[in-house]
Every structure is written in C-alpha cells, then in structure tokens.
C-alpha cells in the first residue's frame, strides 16, 4: 500500500486554499509497522483518513495493490482514538457483528471471536457492556473487533493517547504480541516519540503548516523487543534525540 504525493487542500475562496497536507508520500509494506509522529495539526490523522478511505486526496493518490483507494473496507481495520464501540452490544456481540453481517457461519466466527478475545486479554468479559469496561479494555475490544476481519492493514489513530502511562505500556506490548501472531501491516499515529520507535520498523516524522513529511527513519532493532532493554539502549536514545531534534527544529524551537 502506498500514498503517492497526496495533497489535501480546502478551498477558502476562488483562488485561495488551506493546505492541510502537502505532497505526502509513504509506503506501507505488508506486515510492517509504520508510525507517523508529529505535533498536533500536522495532518497525521488526515493521512490515516486517506488510507482508510474516509476521504480522498485533492491531488495525488492512495494505492492498494493495483487500484486506487476510494472507500473504507474491512481489509483496513481502524482503531479510533476514542473507542467507537456499539454500546448496546456486549463485548462478544461487538466482536462478532461484522462476520455475522457478512454471512459467516456462527460455527466459524464463534471460536474465532473466543480466540481474538483471548488474544487481547478480554476472555471472561464476553457478557459485559462497553460502559462497564475501562479505557484500556475498550481499546482492547476495538482491536479484537478489527482483527476478526483479518485485515491486511491495521490503522491506529493515537489509540493509547487517552490512557495512563502504565496502561499505555501494556497496550504497546499487546500490539507487538498481536503483530507477532497475526502479522498485519500497521499504520500507527502517535505524538509519543518513544512509542513510535518502540513499535515501528519505520517512523515518518511530520511537521505542521502545511502538514508534510520531513523524514523517514528506519528503526533497526530486532524483534521481539523488550521495552526496558530497548529504551535504555544507546541507539534508542540517539534515535529519540534525532527525531526530537527534527520535531523541535521545525516547530521553531531549539533542537532538544
């Protein structure tokens, strides 16, 4: 999957327009984790919306295989920042609704649902309703609901931004564990540099006004990764400084 020189602009008058995203190109190789980091307003979420098919670029294109992306689909599962669960369905029904409506037989989706709920750590909560779940559990449920569609690409829009630090670490490790098992491609939006490095194969650093990509940074660490080991290593700290410098420099502040 590729985004090719995508520009998103909103006309404000006959001649003038606001450019939300300028000439953004990025590659989302299969089974790779790619992160976008940048300050708020840099258009990270707009990139995700393009890839998801919620909107189309003003110029440029988003390509999946040989064809252009024009609409959302279950091949690109989205995990939203604010959990968008079906509040009137219990945990299990939230997960099985998509396969059920697609006409999959219960004998096939029931054991799958059990497996994915187990994988995200929600086994035993099947009969609970979303309002009874904590923030972290709601995100786990969102992930399970998407995974049961076996997406090629998992699009995650600052999914852990609203969680406390401890929960966020647990969730990051969950993402990596799930990735090890199911190997989807992942596009991960975050403003947390450590999170981006820890998870990703490639980190795209973005800047605002207009939203654009400054640099693509390859993350060389082997998998599986351990948070403690990795974050205290010399290479990790250098990468973090490099990315922070890019972010800091471009928003007009002194490099960190």
């Amino acid at each position: 999957m590729r985004v090719e020189r995508a520009t998103v602009a909103f006309p404000i008058s006959a001649e003038d327009e606001i450019v939300a995203l300028e000439n953004v190109s990025l590659r989302l190789p299969p089974s790779r984790i790619v992160s976008l980091v940048g300050p708020s307003g840099c258009g990270k979420t707009t990139v995700l919306r393009l890839v998801a098919g919620f909107m189309r670029p003003t110029r440029g294109r988003v390509v999946l295989g040989d064809s252009e992306v024009t609409a959302p689909g279950p091949d690109r599962g989205v995990v939203f920042q604010q959990p968008t669960l079906f509040p009137w369905l219990n945990v299990l029904d939230n997960v099985i609704l998509a396969p059920k409506l697609r006409g999959v037989a219960a004998s096939s989706y029931a054991p799958e649902a059990a497996r994915y709920l187990e994988a995200v750590g929600l086994a035993g909560t099947e009969r609970q309703y979303p309002y009874q779940l904590s923030g972290g559990m709601r995100q786990r449920l969102q992930i399970a609901r998407v995974l049961i569609n076996a997406p090629d690409l998992l699009l995650m829009d600052e999914p852990f931004g609203a969680l406390d630090f401890q929960t966020r670490l647990v969730m990051q490790e969950l993402v990596l564990a799930l990735w090890e098992t199911y190997r989807p491609g992942v596009l991960f939006i975050t403003h947390d540099v450590d999170e981006a490095i820890f998870l990703s194969d490639t980190v795209y650093v973005m800047a605002a006004k207009p939203g654009r990509i400054l640099e693509a940074i390859e993350i060389p660490f082997d998998r599986p990764r351990s948070y403690q080991e990795l974050t205290s290593s010399r290479e990790f700290i250098d990468l973090r400084l490099e990315i922070l410098a890019l972010l800091g420099h471009r928003s007009g502040r002194r490099p960190a």
């Binding site: 959302p72 689909g73 690109r76 599962g77 968008t84 569609n149």
Partner: protein
C-alpha cells in the same frame, strides 16, 4: 464472579441504593402528610363541603361511581373511553412517526421539505379546527392526539438519527457493513434513546390533551365527566376524576420509563 469481587461491588453499589431508598421514604412521608392534613381538616369541619370536599365525601363519590357509574355510564367505561382515545392516537403516531422521523433524519432533502412545517405546527391550537373538520366524535379526538404525538415522535426520531456519532458510522464502514446494515444495526439502536424519550413526552402530552379535548366536546370520558360534574356542583366527583386522571398519567409515564430502562440498560444509568 468470585465471592470477593461480589462483596466489593455490593459495597460500592450500596450507598446509591441507600440514597434512592431515602428519597422514596421522603416522598412517601411528603404525600402522607398532605393526605393527613386533608383528612384532619375533613373531620374537624373547617372545610367548606361545597368547595373543598372532605375525604369521606370523595370516598363516597368514588364508591358510588364504581357501583352505579356516572349518569348511567359505568365508571370503567368513562376511564376506558379516555385511555382508548389516548392510546389509539399515540400508537398510530408511533407507527407513522418513528419511520417518518427516521426518514427525515436520514435524508437531507426530506428534512428540508418537512422541518419548516414541523417547526411551525403547534397542535393544541388545532383543537377548534379539528372539531370543525371532524366533528365532536371519536375521530376528531383521536386525530388531534395523533397529530400531537406524531409531531413529537417524528422530531425526536429525526434528531436521534442526526445525533448518531460520526465516528461510529465510519467504524461501521471499515467493518464492511452495507448501507442497510448500518441503518438497522447502527443508526436505529443509536437513535433509540431519543425515540423513547420522545415517546414518553408524547405520551404525557397525549394524556393531557385527551382530557382537554373531552372538556371541550365529548359525551363520555374522564374529561367530560369532570366538566359535567362541575356544571352540576358535584365537586366530590370532580375530585375523584382529577385523582384518577393523575393516577393514570402516572401509570402511563411509569410504564414508558420501565420500557426505557429495559431497552436502554446498556447506557449504564
């Protein structure tokens, strides 16, 4: 659930239950006090029996209504006449208003066509016109109640649809739902809370309106009964009528609240 966990949730839940119990007790005491003052006044003779009847007179009027009915019409028939009008108009309005409101909520064009009229309509002002067009028979009353409830239920269903979370709709698309499935499995349940609230308000309005319509023109019904009884100074009968009207209104409201709680338990309130 383990024993330890159950014990903990019990401890968490109990203060709330306690508070609700307190409120009920206070409400009970409040009602009992007013009744007691009335009963006390009744037996000391400070009340003017022509204006504010003592409790014995009202009780006796109630008993006579139950045994002999009002002016040859059995009491249950008076009650049934009012309730049947209200429910007939209300249920028709639900059958028409919910789909109509959903359509308006879904379609910009339909909303543009209909909202000016819905915003302009004030049903109670239509009572004289309905009597003029439909006469004073059942049709005019049911039609009036139907229009009133339709107005409310349509508006609430439409706003329920318009209030559906945009992110939830996007999520449904990424899960691969068809348009029909989105409507049936996302929009409809999302709009349900507002539809039920609209129904509850409409029901209260219907009940008030049926009584009002009967005051103006009817030969049977609780509204007719209290109007007629007032004309002939049968004040205890009026009080029985007022009490029954209040009680039925309460029962209707409670049943819709019960329905809401059952259908919307997932809101966790």
């Amino acid at each position: 659930m383990s024993v330890a966990l159950r014990a903990r949730t019990d401890r968490i839940a109990s203060p709330r239950r306690q508070r609700r119990l307190d409120r009920r007790v206070i409400s009970g005491i409040s009602v009992a006090t007013v009744l007691l003052v009335w009963v006390a006044c009744s037996f000391t003779g400070v009340l003017n029996p022509d204006k504010l009847p003592p409790v014995q007179a009202v009780a006796q009027a109630f008993w006579e209504l139950v045994i002999h009915g009002y002016e040859g019409v059995p009491f249950w028939k008076e009650i049934l006449a009012s309730v049947a009008r209200a429910l007939a108009g209300f249920l028709l309005a639900v059958l028409v208003g919910v789909p109509f409101g959903l359509l308006i909520g879904e379609s910009e064009t339909m909303a543009a066509i209909c909202t000016p009229f819905l915003g302009f309509l004030r049903p109670i002002a239509l009572i004289p016109l309905f009597i003029f067009y439909f006469g004073i028979g059942e049709a005019s009353k049911v039609a009036l109640i139907f229009i009133t409830a339709l107005w409310y239920i349509t508006l609430s269903a439409a706003s329920g649809v318009q209030a559906v979370s945009k992110d939830l709709l996007l999520a449904s698309q990424t899960l691969g739902f068809t348009k029909r499935q989105v409507f049936r499995h996302v929009i409809l349940p999302s709009a349900l809370p507002q539809i039920l609230t609209g129904m509850r308000v409409a029901m209260a309005l219907c009940w008030a309106l049926v009584v009002a319509a009967e005051l103006i023109a009817a030969q049977v019904g609780l509204g007719y009964m209290i109007m007629d009884a007032t004309t002939f100074f049968r004040i205890p009968v009026v009080y029985v009528g007022v009490g029954i009207i209040g009680l039925i209104g309460l029962v209707l409201e409670r049943s819709l609240i019960f329905l809401e709680k059952r259908l919307l338990h997932w809101q966790g309130r």
